[in-house]
Symmetry: C2
Subunit: 264 residues, 2 copies
Protein backbone atom coordinates (compact mmCIF):
# COMPACT_ATOMS: atom_id res chain seq x y z
CA UNK A 1 0.00 0.00 0.00
CA UNK A 2 1.28 3.46 -0.87
CA UNK A 3 1.85 5.65 2.12
CA UNK A 4 1.36 9.39 2.01
CA UNK A 5 4.49 10.93 3.49
CA UNK A 6 4.18 14.61 2.61
CA UNK A 7 2.64 16.85 5.25
CA UNK A 8 2.27 19.45 2.48
CA UNK A 9 -0.02 17.35 0.33
CA UNK A 10 -3.19 19.32 -0.49
CA UNK A 11 -5.50 16.76 1.17
CA UNK A 12 -3.49 16.78 4.37
CA UNK A 13 -3.49 20.58 4.41
CA UNK A 14 -7.25 20.66 3.75
CA UNK A 15 -7.84 18.31 6.69
CA UNK A 16 -5.30 20.03 8.91
CA UNK A 17 -6.95 23.43 8.66
CA UNK A 18 -10.14 21.98 10.17
CA UNK A 19 -8.40 22.37 13.54
CA UNK A 20 -9.46 26.03 13.23
CA UNK A 21 -13.06 27.08 13.87
CA UNK A 22 -13.23 29.47 10.91
CA UNK A 23 -12.29 26.71 8.46
CA UNK A 24 -14.73 24.23 10.01
CA UNK A 25 -17.48 26.79 9.46
CA UNK A 26 -16.34 27.60 5.92
CA UNK A 27 -15.74 24.00 4.78
CA UNK A 28 -18.69 22.61 6.79
CA UNK A 29 -16.42 19.78 7.92
CA UNK A 30 -14.67 18.77 11.14
CA UNK A 31 -12.24 16.15 12.44
CA UNK A 32 -12.90 13.07 14.57
CA UNK A 33 -9.78 11.58 16.11
CA UNK A 34 -9.01 8.20 17.67
CA UNK A 35 -10.55 4.76 17.07
CA UNK A 36 -13.56 5.27 19.37
CA UNK A 37 -14.75 8.53 17.81
CA UNK A 38 -14.08 7.29 14.27
CA UNK A 39 -15.93 4.02 14.94
CA UNK A 40 -18.99 5.92 16.18
CA UNK A 41 -18.81 8.37 13.27
CA UNK A 42 -18.76 5.48 10.77
CA UNK A 43 -21.99 4.13 12.31
CA UNK A 44 -23.79 7.29 11.15
CA UNK A 45 -24.23 6.94 7.36
CA UNK A 46 -22.94 9.88 5.36
CA UNK A 47 -20.94 11.36 8.22
CA UNK A 48 -17.35 10.41 7.35
CA UNK A 49 -15.89 11.98 4.20
CA UNK A 50 -12.46 10.39 4.34
CA UNK A 51 -10.15 8.61 6.73
CA UNK A 52 -6.42 8.99 7.42
CA UNK A 53 -4.59 6.26 9.32
CA UNK A 54 -1.06 5.06 10.03
CA UNK A 55 0.14 1.57 9.07
CA UNK A 56 0.38 0.73 12.75
CA UNK A 57 -3.26 1.78 13.37
CA UNK A 58 -4.40 -0.31 10.38
CA UNK A 59 -2.71 -3.36 11.90
CA UNK A 60 -4.21 -2.65 15.33
CA UNK A 61 -7.73 -1.76 14.15
CA UNK A 62 -8.44 -3.91 11.06
CA UNK A 63 -12.20 -3.85 11.67
CA UNK A 64 -12.23 -0.07 11.63
CA UNK A 65 -10.70 -0.06 8.17
CA UNK A 66 -13.16 -2.75 7.08
CA UNK A 67 -16.13 -0.65 8.25
CA UNK A 68 -14.74 2.34 6.38
CA UNK A 69 -14.37 0.27 3.21
CA UNK A 70 -17.88 -1.15 3.64
CA UNK A 71 -19.22 2.39 4.01
CA UNK A 72 -17.44 3.46 0.82
CA UNK A 73 -15.19 5.87 2.67
CA UNK A 74 -11.85 6.74 1.05
CA UNK A 75 -8.97 5.72 3.31
CA UNK A 76 -5.38 6.92 3.05
CA UNK A 77 -2.41 5.48 4.86
CA UNK A 78 -0.08 8.21 6.10
CA UNK A 79 3.31 8.24 7.77
CA UNK A 80 3.63 8.83 11.52
CA UNK A 81 4.95 12.33 10.71
CA UNK A 82 1.87 13.22 8.67
CA UNK A 83 -0.38 11.82 11.42
CA UNK A 84 1.34 14.14 13.90
CA UNK A 85 0.37 17.07 11.71
CA UNK A 86 -3.25 15.91 11.40
CA UNK A 87 -3.83 14.86 15.02
CA UNK A 88 -4.47 17.30 17.84
CA UNK A 89 -3.34 15.01 20.66
CA UNK A 90 0.18 14.72 22.02
CA UNK A 91 0.22 10.95 21.44
CA UNK A 92 -1.92 10.42 18.32
CA UNK A 93 -3.83 7.15 18.14
CA UNK A 94 -3.25 6.89 14.42
CA UNK A 95 -6.76 7.47 13.02
CA UNK A 96 -8.36 10.77 11.95
CA UNK A 97 -11.65 11.07 10.06
CA UNK A 98 -12.81 14.12 8.13
CA UNK A 99 -16.55 14.41 8.85
CA UNK A 100 -19.40 16.35 7.31
CA UNK A 101 -20.93 18.97 9.54
CA UNK A 102 -23.82 17.30 11.34
CA UNK A 103 -26.51 19.81 10.70
CA UNK A 104 -30.04 19.28 11.86
CA UNK A 105 -32.72 21.92 12.05
CA UNK A 106 -34.05 22.60 15.55
CA UNK A 107 -37.57 21.47 14.58
CA UNK A 108 -36.23 18.06 13.55
CA UNK A 109 -33.97 17.66 16.58
CA UNK A 110 -36.77 18.50 18.99
CA UNK A 111 -39.62 16.42 17.64
CA UNK A 112 -43.14 16.20 19.04
CA UNK A 113 -42.22 13.28 21.33
CA UNK A 114 -39.19 14.97 22.92
CA UNK A 115 -39.07 14.40 26.69
CA UNK A 116 -35.61 15.56 27.75
CA UNK A 117 -33.42 18.23 26.15
CA UNK A 118 -30.07 19.70 27.24
CA UNK A 119 -29.29 23.31 26.34
CA UNK A 120 -25.65 24.41 26.59
CA UNK A 121 -26.13 28.13 27.12
CA UNK A 122 -22.61 29.26 27.90
CA UNK A 123 -20.10 26.40 28.03
CA UNK A 124 -16.58 27.71 27.48
CA UNK A 125 -14.48 24.78 28.58
CA UNK A 126 -14.26 22.19 25.75
CA UNK A 127 -13.82 19.22 28.11
CA UNK A 128 -16.86 20.23 30.15
CA UNK A 129 -19.00 20.79 27.03
CA UNK A 130 -18.03 17.37 25.67
CA UNK A 131 -18.80 15.73 28.99
CA UNK A 132 -22.25 17.38 29.09
CA UNK A 133 -23.00 15.94 25.62
CA UNK A 134 -21.80 12.51 26.79
CA UNK A 135 -23.93 12.78 29.94
CA UNK A 136 -26.99 13.85 27.91
CA UNK A 137 -26.51 10.82 25.66
CA UNK A 138 -26.12 8.45 28.63
CA UNK A 139 -29.19 9.87 30.35
CA UNK A 140 -31.16 9.29 27.15
CA UNK A 141 -31.78 12.94 26.22
CA UNK A 142 -33.47 13.56 22.87
CA UNK A 143 -31.12 16.37 21.78
CA UNK A 144 -28.46 18.83 22.86
CA UNK A 145 -28.96 22.45 21.80
CA UNK A 146 -25.88 24.66 21.82
CA UNK A 147 -25.98 28.43 22.01
CA UNK A 148 -24.02 30.50 19.51
CA UNK A 149 -21.89 31.99 22.33
CA UNK A 150 -20.69 28.55 23.48
CA UNK A 151 -17.48 26.76 22.66
CA UNK A 152 -17.53 25.18 19.16
CA UNK A 153 -18.77 21.63 19.75
CA UNK A 154 -16.95 20.52 16.59
CA UNK A 155 -13.54 21.49 17.94
CA UNK A 156 -11.21 18.49 18.20
CA UNK A 157 -11.16 18.67 22.01
CA UNK A 158 -14.96 18.65 22.36
CA UNK A 159 -15.35 15.88 19.77
CA UNK A 160 -12.82 13.80 21.71
CA UNK A 161 -14.36 14.40 25.13
CA UNK A 162 -17.85 13.39 23.95
CA UNK A 163 -16.37 9.87 23.53
CA UNK A 164 -18.52 9.31 20.43
CA UNK A 165 -21.73 10.77 21.85
CA UNK A 166 -21.59 13.64 19.36
CA UNK A 167 -22.68 11.09 16.76
CA UNK A 168 -25.39 9.50 18.92
CA UNK A 169 -28.00 12.19 19.35
CA UNK A 170 -28.92 15.38 17.52
CA UNK A 171 -26.58 18.21 18.52
CA UNK A 172 -27.75 21.55 17.13
CA UNK A 173 -25.20 24.37 17.39
CA UNK A 174 -25.20 28.11 16.81
CA UNK A 175 -28.62 28.83 18.34
CA UNK A 176 -29.64 32.14 19.89
CA UNK A 177 -30.53 31.31 23.50
CA UNK A 178 -33.64 33.47 23.98
CA UNK A 179 -35.33 32.30 20.78
CA UNK A 180 -34.52 28.70 21.61
CA UNK A 181 -36.07 28.94 25.08
CA UNK A 182 -39.18 30.54 23.58
CA UNK A 183 -39.52 27.82 20.95
CA UNK A 184 -39.14 25.06 23.51
CA UNK A 185 -41.84 26.62 25.66
CA UNK A 186 -44.14 27.01 22.65
CA UNK A 187 -43.62 23.30 21.98
CA UNK A 188 -44.94 22.56 25.48
CA UNK A 189 -41.52 21.78 26.95
CA UNK A 190 -40.92 23.18 30.42
CA UNK A 191 -37.62 25.06 30.53
CA UNK A 192 -35.53 24.62 33.70
CA UNK A 193 -32.37 26.62 34.34
CA UNK A 194 -29.69 24.73 36.26
CA UNK A 195 -27.91 27.34 38.32
CA UNK A 196 -26.24 27.60 41.71
CA UNK A 197 -28.33 30.75 42.26
CA UNK A 198 -31.59 28.81 41.93
CA UNK A 199 -34.23 28.99 44.63
CA UNK A 200 -35.85 25.61 43.94
CA UNK A 201 -33.91 22.49 44.91
CA UNK A 202 -33.57 19.65 42.40
CA UNK A 203 -35.43 17.04 44.52
CA UNK A 204 -38.42 19.43 44.78
CA UNK A 205 -39.03 19.63 41.02
CA UNK A 206 -41.48 17.35 39.19
CA UNK A 207 -39.30 16.00 36.40
CA UNK A 208 -41.83 13.60 34.89
CA UNK A 209 -43.26 15.99 32.21
CA UNK A 210 -41.19 16.90 29.15
CA UNK A 211 -38.53 19.48 30.01
CA UNK A 212 -35.25 21.07 28.97
CA UNK A 213 -32.25 21.83 31.18
CA UNK A 214 -30.47 25.11 30.42
CA UNK A 215 -26.88 24.86 31.65
CA UNK A 216 -24.68 27.90 32.22
CA UNK A 217 -21.01 28.52 32.47
CA UNK A 218 -18.66 26.71 34.88
CA UNK A 219 -17.41 29.96 36.41
CA UNK A 220 -20.32 32.36 36.62
CA UNK A 221 -23.56 30.48 35.95
CA UNK A 222 -26.33 31.80 33.76
CA UNK A 223 -27.00 35.44 32.92
CA UNK A 224 -30.00 36.94 34.64
CA UNK A 225 -31.80 37.56 31.33
CA UNK A 226 -31.56 33.86 30.47
CA UNK A 227 -32.61 32.72 33.95
CA UNK A 228 -35.61 35.05 33.87
CA UNK A 229 -36.81 33.52 30.62
CA UNK A 230 -36.91 30.00 32.09
CA UNK A 231 -39.91 28.51 33.92
CA UNK A 232 -37.87 27.64 36.99
CA UNK A 233 -34.32 28.16 38.26
CA UNK A 234 -33.19 24.94 39.91
CA UNK A 235 -30.21 24.33 42.16
CA UNK A 236 -28.48 21.02 42.82
CA UNK A 237 -28.32 20.85 46.64
CA UNK A 238 -24.84 21.08 48.16
CA UNK A 239 -24.95 18.97 51.32
CA UNK A 240 -21.30 19.28 52.34
CA UNK A 241 -18.93 22.23 52.37
CA UNK A 242 -18.16 22.29 48.62
CA UNK A 243 -18.70 25.69 47.05
CA UNK A 244 -20.26 24.21 43.91
CA UNK A 245 -20.23 21.38 41.41
CA UNK A 246 -18.60 21.87 38.04
CA UNK A 247 -20.82 22.24 34.98
CA UNK A 248 -20.46 18.66 33.76
CA UNK A 249 -21.20 17.20 37.20
CA UNK A 250 -24.22 19.43 37.83
CA UNK A 251 -25.55 18.68 34.34
CA UNK A 252 -25.14 14.92 34.77
CA UNK A 253 -26.87 14.97 38.17
CA UNK A 254 -29.81 16.96 36.71
CA UNK A 255 -30.11 14.81 33.59
CA UNK A 256 -30.02 11.58 35.60
CA UNK A 257 -32.62 12.91 38.01
CA UNK A 258 -34.78 13.55 34.93
CA UNK A 259 -34.17 10.06 33.56
CA UNK A 260 -35.07 8.53 36.92
CA UNK A 261 -38.34 10.52 37.04
CA UNK A 262 -39.28 9.80 33.43
CA UNK A 263 -38.19 6.18 33.17
CA UNK A 264 -38.52 5.03 36.79
CA UNK B 1 8.33 44.49 52.01
CA UNK B 2 11.33 42.40 51.05
CA UNK B 3 10.72 40.17 48.09
CA UNK B 4 12.40 36.82 47.73
CA UNK B 5 13.88 36.72 44.24
CA UNK B 6 16.13 33.67 44.31
CA UNK B 7 14.63 30.45 43.01
CA UNK B 8 17.57 28.69 44.69
CA UNK B 9 16.71 29.80 48.19
CA UNK B 10 16.52 26.75 50.50
CA UNK B 11 12.88 27.42 51.41
CA UNK B 12 11.83 27.68 47.80
CA UNK B 13 13.69 24.48 46.96
CA UNK B 14 12.11 22.71 49.96
CA UNK B 15 8.64 23.74 48.76
CA UNK B 16 9.41 23.06 45.12
CA UNK B 17 10.37 19.44 45.70
CA UNK B 18 6.86 18.75 47.07
CA UNK B 19 5.76 18.53 43.43
CA UNK B 20 7.21 14.99 43.62
CA UNK B 21 5.31 12.21 45.37
CA UNK B 22 8.40 10.75 47.07
CA UNK B 23 9.19 14.08 48.76
CA UNK B 24 5.57 14.62 49.82
CA UNK B 25 5.70 11.23 51.53
CA UNK B 26 9.10 11.90 53.10
CA UNK B 27 8.41 15.49 54.24
CA UNK B 28 4.76 14.75 55.10
CA UNK B 29 3.83 18.01 53.36
CA UNK B 30 2.14 19.01 50.11
CA UNK B 31 1.28 22.13 48.10
CA UNK B 32 -2.03 23.91 47.68
CA UNK B 33 -2.09 26.36 44.80
CA UNK B 34 -4.38 29.24 43.88
CA UNK B 35 -6.55 31.52 46.05
CA UNK B 36 -9.48 29.10 46.36
CA UNK B 37 -7.47 26.11 47.58
CA UNK B 38 -5.35 28.27 49.90
CA UNK B 39 -8.44 29.96 51.35
CA UNK B 40 -10.01 26.58 52.14
CA UNK B 41 -6.73 25.25 53.57
CA UNK B 42 -6.49 28.26 55.91
CA UNK B 43 -9.95 27.46 57.27
CA UNK B 44 -8.60 24.17 58.64
CA UNK B 45 -6.48 25.07 61.69
CA UNK B 46 -2.96 23.66 61.63
CA UNK B 47 -3.03 22.79 57.95
CA UNK B 48 -0.96 25.56 56.36
CA UNK B 49 2.73 25.66 57.27
CA UNK B 50 3.73 28.65 55.18
CA UNK B 51 2.53 30.76 52.32
CA UNK B 52 4.30 32.13 49.24
CA UNK B 53 2.67 34.91 47.23
CA UNK B 54 3.52 37.49 44.59
CA UNK B 55 3.10 41.22 45.20
CA UNK B 56 0.35 41.25 42.60
CA UNK B 57 -1.56 38.45 44.39
CA UNK B 58 -1.21 40.29 47.72
CA UNK B 59 -2.81 43.37 46.15
CA UNK B 60 -5.59 41.26 44.58
CA UNK B 61 -6.28 39.05 47.61
CA UNK B 62 -5.69 41.19 50.73
CA UNK B 63 -8.13 39.14 52.81
CA UNK B 64 -6.23 35.95 52.07
CA UNK B 65 -3.06 37.47 53.49
CA UNK B 66 -5.03 38.75 56.49
CA UNK B 67 -6.40 35.26 57.22
CA UNK B 68 -2.89 33.86 56.98
CA UNK B 69 -1.59 36.47 59.41
CA UNK B 70 -4.52 35.83 61.77
CA UNK B 71 -3.73 32.11 61.67
CA UNK B 72 -0.09 32.80 62.51
CA UNK B 73 1.11 31.47 59.16
CA UNK B 74 4.47 32.74 57.87
CA UNK B 75 4.03 34.53 54.54
CA UNK B 76 6.77 35.34 52.05
CA UNK B 77 6.47 37.62 49.07
CA UNK B 78 8.26 36.20 46.05
CA UNK B 79 9.03 37.48 42.57
CA UNK B 80 6.98 36.30 39.58
CA UNK B 81 9.99 34.18 38.54
CA UNK B 82 10.10 32.36 41.88
CA UNK B 83 6.32 31.83 41.72
CA UNK B 84 6.77 30.18 38.33
CA UNK B 85 9.16 27.71 39.93
CA UNK B 86 6.79 26.98 42.83
CA UNK B 87 3.54 26.78 40.90
CA UNK B 88 2.52 23.79 38.81
CA UNK B 89 0.12 25.63 36.53
CA UNK B 90 0.99 27.30 33.26
CA UNK B 91 -0.49 30.61 34.41
CA UNK B 92 0.17 30.72 38.17
CA UNK B 93 -2.39 32.57 40.27
CA UNK B 94 0.30 33.89 42.58
CA UNK B 95 -0.40 31.98 45.81
CA UNK B 96 1.07 28.68 46.96
CA UNK B 97 0.69 27.22 50.46
CA UNK B 98 2.86 24.50 51.97
CA UNK B 99 0.46 22.26 53.92
CA UNK B 100 0.91 19.55 56.53
CA UNK B 101 -0.13 16.10 55.41
CA UNK B 102 -3.76 15.66 56.43
CA UNK B 103 -3.56 12.35 58.17
CA UNK B 104 -6.53 10.80 59.83
CA UNK B 105 -6.82 7.19 60.92
CA UNK B 106 -9.57 5.21 59.20
CA UNK B 107 -11.42 4.64 62.49
CA UNK B 108 -11.66 8.39 63.06
CA UNK B 109 -12.67 9.19 59.45
CA UNK B 110 -15.42 6.57 59.45
CA UNK B 111 -17.10 7.22 62.78
CA UNK B 112 -20.11 5.36 64.20
CA UNK B 113 -22.59 7.77 62.57
CA UNK B 114 -21.15 7.51 59.05
CA UNK B 115 -23.90 7.24 56.42
CA UNK B 116 -22.14 7.73 53.10
CA UNK B 117 -18.54 6.90 52.17
CA UNK B 118 -16.70 7.08 48.84
CA UNK B 119 -13.88 4.63 48.19
CA UNK B 120 -11.49 5.44 45.34
CA UNK B 121 -10.27 1.97 44.49
CA UNK B 122 -8.29 2.57 41.36
CA UNK B 123 -8.40 6.18 40.17
CA UNK B 124 -5.43 6.92 37.92
CA UNK B 125 -6.47 10.20 36.35
CA UNK B 126 -5.73 13.10 38.74
CA UNK B 127 -8.54 15.29 37.40
CA UNK B 128 -11.09 12.51 37.79
CA UNK B 129 -9.90 11.66 41.32
CA UNK B 130 -10.14 15.31 42.35
CA UNK B 131 -13.61 15.61 40.85
CA UNK B 132 -14.77 12.50 42.76
CA UNK B 133 -13.57 14.09 46.03
CA UNK B 134 -15.39 17.31 45.12
CA UNK B 135 -18.55 15.35 44.26
CA UNK B 136 -18.34 13.38 47.54
CA UNK B 137 -18.06 16.65 49.45
CA UNK B 138 -21.01 18.21 47.59
CA UNK B 139 -23.17 15.12 48.14
CA UNK B 140 -22.39 15.32 51.86
CA UNK B 141 -20.30 12.15 52.15
CA UNK B 142 -18.67 11.53 55.53
CA UNK B 143 -15.27 10.55 54.14
CA UNK B 144 -13.30 9.56 51.05
CA UNK B 145 -11.06 6.50 51.38
CA UNK B 146 -8.29 6.16 48.82
CA UNK B 147 -6.60 2.89 47.94
CA UNK B 148 -2.81 2.66 47.98
CA UNK B 149 -2.78 1.84 44.23
CA UNK B 150 -4.59 5.07 43.33
CA UNK B 151 -3.16 8.35 42.15
CA UNK B 152 -1.64 10.42 44.99
CA UNK B 153 -4.48 12.67 46.17
CA UNK B 154 -1.91 15.20 47.42
CA UNK B 155 -0.45 15.76 43.95
CA UNK B 156 -0.83 19.38 42.82
CA UNK B 157 -3.24 18.41 40.05
CA UNK B 158 -5.60 16.48 42.35
CA UNK B 159 -5.45 19.19 45.04
CA UNK B 160 -6.39 21.76 42.39
CA UNK B 161 -9.22 19.74 40.89
CA UNK B 162 -10.86 19.14 44.29
CA UNK B 163 -11.51 22.93 44.32
CA UNK B 164 -10.91 23.01 48.10
CA UNK B 165 -12.90 19.89 48.94
CA UNK B 166 -9.73 18.08 50.01
CA UNK B 167 -9.86 20.27 53.13
CA UNK B 168 -13.59 19.79 53.76
CA UNK B 169 -13.97 16.14 54.63
CA UNK B 170 -11.66 13.39 55.88
CA UNK B 171 -9.65 11.95 52.98
CA UNK B 172 -7.70 8.86 54.07
CA UNK B 173 -5.07 7.69 51.57
CA UNK B 174 -2.85 4.66 51.19
CA UNK B 175 -5.40 2.05 52.24
CA UNK B 176 -5.36 -1.59 51.13
CA UNK B 177 -8.67 -2.11 49.35
CA UNK B 178 -9.63 -5.57 50.66
CA UNK B 179 -9.01 -4.74 54.32
CA UNK B 180 -10.91 -1.46 53.93
CA UNK B 181 -13.98 -3.18 52.45
CA UNK B 182 -13.88 -5.76 55.28
CA UNK B 183 -13.64 -3.05 57.96
CA UNK B 184 -16.53 -1.08 56.46
CA UNK B 185 -18.71 -4.20 56.44
CA UNK B 186 -17.73 -5.01 60.03
CA UNK B 187 -18.85 -1.49 60.94
CA UNK B 188 -22.28 -2.27 59.49
CA UNK B 189 -21.77 -0.25 56.32
CA UNK B 190 -23.09 -1.88 53.16
CA UNK B 191 -20.42 -1.85 50.46
CA UNK B 192 -21.61 -1.16 46.90
CA UNK B 193 -19.31 -1.43 43.90
CA UNK B 194 -20.07 1.09 41.12
CA UNK B 195 -19.17 -0.68 37.90
CA UNK B 196 -20.40 -0.82 34.34
CA UNK B 197 -20.35 -4.62 34.69
CA UNK B 198 -22.89 -4.52 37.54
CA UNK B 199 -26.08 -6.58 37.33
CA UNK B 200 -28.17 -4.37 39.63
CA UNK B 201 -29.29 -0.98 38.31
CA UNK B 202 -28.84 2.14 40.45
CA UNK B 203 -32.58 2.95 40.76
CA UNK B 204 -33.22 -0.60 42.10
CA UNK B 205 -30.92 -0.26 45.13
CA UNK B 206 -32.18 0.86 48.56
CA UNK B 207 -29.77 3.67 49.35
CA UNK B 208 -31.33 4.78 52.64
CA UNK B 209 -29.15 2.64 54.98
CA UNK B 210 -25.48 3.55 55.57
CA UNK B 211 -23.33 2.51 52.63
CA UNK B 212 -20.04 3.01 50.81
CA UNK B 213 -19.49 3.36 47.06
CA UNK B 214 -16.39 1.64 45.71
CA UNK B 215 -15.33 3.36 42.47
CA UNK B 216 -13.00 1.76 39.97
CA UNK B 217 -10.82 2.98 37.18
CA UNK B 218 -12.00 5.14 34.28
CA UNK B 219 -10.74 2.67 31.68
CA UNK B 220 -11.33 -0.82 32.96
CA UNK B 221 -13.63 -0.70 36.00
CA UNK B 222 -13.01 -2.69 39.16
CA UNK B 223 -11.01 -5.89 39.43
CA UNK B 224 -13.08 -9.01 39.91
CA UNK B 225 -11.53 -9.70 43.34
CA UNK B 226 -12.66 -6.28 44.56
CA UNK B 227 -16.16 -6.59 43.05
CA UNK B 228 -16.60 -10.02 44.64
CA UNK B 229 -15.82 -8.61 48.08
CA UNK B 230 -18.62 -6.02 47.83
CA UNK B 231 -22.23 -6.62 48.86
CA UNK B 232 -23.62 -5.56 45.51
CA UNK B 233 -22.26 -4.52 42.09
CA UNK B 234 -24.34 -1.60 40.84
CA UNK B 235 -24.51 -0.11 37.36
CA UNK B 236 -25.64 3.40 36.43
CA UNK B 237 -28.20 2.80 33.66
CA UNK B 238 -27.20 4.01 30.18
CA UNK B 239 -30.43 5.07 28.48
CA UNK B 240 -28.95 6.40 25.23
CA UNK B 241 -26.19 5.08 22.98
CA UNK B 242 -23.22 6.20 25.11
CA UNK B 243 -20.78 3.42 25.85
CA UNK B 244 -20.26 4.53 29.42
CA UNK B 245 -19.96 7.47 31.80
CA UNK B 246 -16.54 8.57 32.99
CA UNK B 247 -15.53 7.82 36.58
CA UNK B 248 -16.28 11.27 37.97
CA UNK B 249 -19.73 11.42 36.34
CA UNK B 250 -20.72 7.91 37.46
CA UNK B 251 -19.47 8.63 40.98
CA UNK B 252 -21.39 11.91 41.20
CA UNK B 253 -24.62 10.30 39.94
CA UNK B 254 -24.27 7.47 42.52
CA UNK B 255 -23.40 9.82 45.41
CA UNK B 256 -26.30 12.16 44.61
CA UNK B 257 -28.71 9.22 44.37
CA UNK B 258 -27.50 8.29 47.86
CA UNK B 259 -27.96 11.83 49.18
CA UNK B 260 -31.49 11.94 47.72
CA UNK B 261 -32.37 8.63 49.42
CA UNK B 262 -30.83 9.55 52.77
CA UNK B 263 -31.84 13.21 52.97
CA UNK B 264 -35.03 13.23 50.92
Amino acid sequence: MTELTSARSPRVLAARRLAKRAFRARDRRFLAEGPQAVREALLEPGTVVELFHTGEAAAREPRLLDSAAAAGVATTQVSAEVMKVLAQTVTPQGVVAVCHLLDRPLAEAVGPGAQLIAVLAHGRDPGNAGTVIRGADAAGADAVLVRDASVDVLSPKVVRSTAGSLFHLPVVAGLPVEGTIDRLREAGIRVLAADGAGTVLLPEVDLAPAHAWVMGNEAWGLEEAVRDRCDEVVRVPIHGKAESLNLAMAATVCLYASAAAQRG
